[in-house]
Symmetry: D2
Subunit: 143 residues, 4 copies
């Protein structure tokens, strides 16, 4: 097994150990140094009152993808999101949400990452949210 496959397998074990991610049904579709992709097959219980995916589910996906991307670029095993900001751009609707996060900067004490969240409807991807945040090592961070 390659290192890349190792990293993806490790990432998937972490995701499977997050009961909240299991509740929502997120999948880690790509994970390599500096980059992570999470997917969510949209279900009825992900929606809000207008029939779109709830902002909270979109935020969860962005937050978690940011953490994965940052974690791939920081030393040590555990990392957490220190903070992030998200702009919702369009109603999130379709079959699948895809969150693609990448590292903009990584030092010893933090990684700053971006994440775009796309909604896939009838096979067409549309950007529906974009986020930027800071990932820090566990222990060096307050959370």
């Amino acid at each position: 097994m390659t290192e890349k496959a190792d990293l993806l397998a490790l990432g998937r074990r972490v995701l499977a150990a997050q009961p909240f991610s299991v509740l929502l049904g997120a999948e880690l579709s790509a994970f390599e140094p500096g980059r992570a992709e999470l997917r969510l097959a949209v279900r009825g219980d992900h929606l809000q009152q207008h029939g779109f995916v709830h902002g909270g589910a979109v935020s969860y996906l962005a937050d978690n993808a940011l953490t994965y991307a940052g974690g791939s670029a920081l030393p040590g095993l555990g990392v957490v999101t220190s903070e992030y900001k998200i702009n919702y751009l369009r109603p999130a609707q379709g079959e699948t949400l895809i969150a693609r996060a990448s590292v903009l900067y990584a030092g010893k004490s933090q990684a700053v990452c971006r994440c775009d969240v796309f909604a896939v409807k009838d096979g067409v991807e549309k950007l529906c949210a974009t986020a930027q945040g800071t990932i820090v090592p566990l222990g060096g961070a307050p959370r």
Copy 2:
């Protein structure tokens, strides 16, 4: 029934119409002009791999409380969160999370709100996250 009770009842109907909020089990514990409080009785499936409430659940609560607070201060019926930023301060652990949001500024086209999220453990509240965001009327907004 007073207007205040009317507003709370209306807010609860909206929450009950959000399948994602029902999935997570959030409750609207206070809702009046300029202010909203959401609660989450912490369950095992809200957690991440270290046993704390997942950041995604904390974010959901903050985002939704911001939307309620902003909605109480804007004209018209429908509102959405345009954007927000959240800082995680401490691991969220305990029996209950409480998100308290209030309006800092409200005009015709936006309300800017703050939200503090507290974790209640053994009856003691600790601030575990803080957020700031923009709520906009539906239609006047892209989402």
Copy 3:
């Protein structure tokens, strides 16, 4: 001289050592553990094309007040702003801007602070911007 006066005097020496703050004419009007207040006597060269104080000057004031507040709550001598977010609420106009920052959370590796910026016109204060950000110790931080 009291400790409180010492801290204010120290803060003013730091401000005087920032050529950019001297260029803009900012003054540190209060500085104590957990709290800082910066003022800017509005000049013609602080404005933008509509006659209001330029957002960049408002941001500068918020950023710097956040750094002071955070610095008062972190160990060690040097701190920097790691990140912040600002919402502009109203046009900033009047004789003076006042940025009031306070610490929401302080640990060893970061302080999370808020700052409200008020514009004083004919003696009346109006909230014109609000910010939230993270301050980190120099050295532990990338900047």
Copy 4:
């Protein structure tokens, strides 16, 4: 004169009408639909006490570049920054700062933009800050 040159000329007239931008010495080096670039030739009075460009000057540049980019994508003449978030990544040092902003999403009521700020030292560009924000039309916005 081409439309592109027209837009750049218009943008430069707006910048020249901002006394704060004149005070700082910013130049608009590129401006076309969806994209803007501002430059700042670093001077001694842009610095903070450690000899790096003050965060307030970096923020100003990012904020203003975001506004230009958003303005190029929104209908009507006047726009303002509604909110933005910035992460400082590295000390800003060198001869020149360059802020490059682009539009991620533009609707009728808002444009969401990103901006990377680079410091050029001995001819080498280094990313020193990154920002994300919302630009809104004047009048439709509170500011």
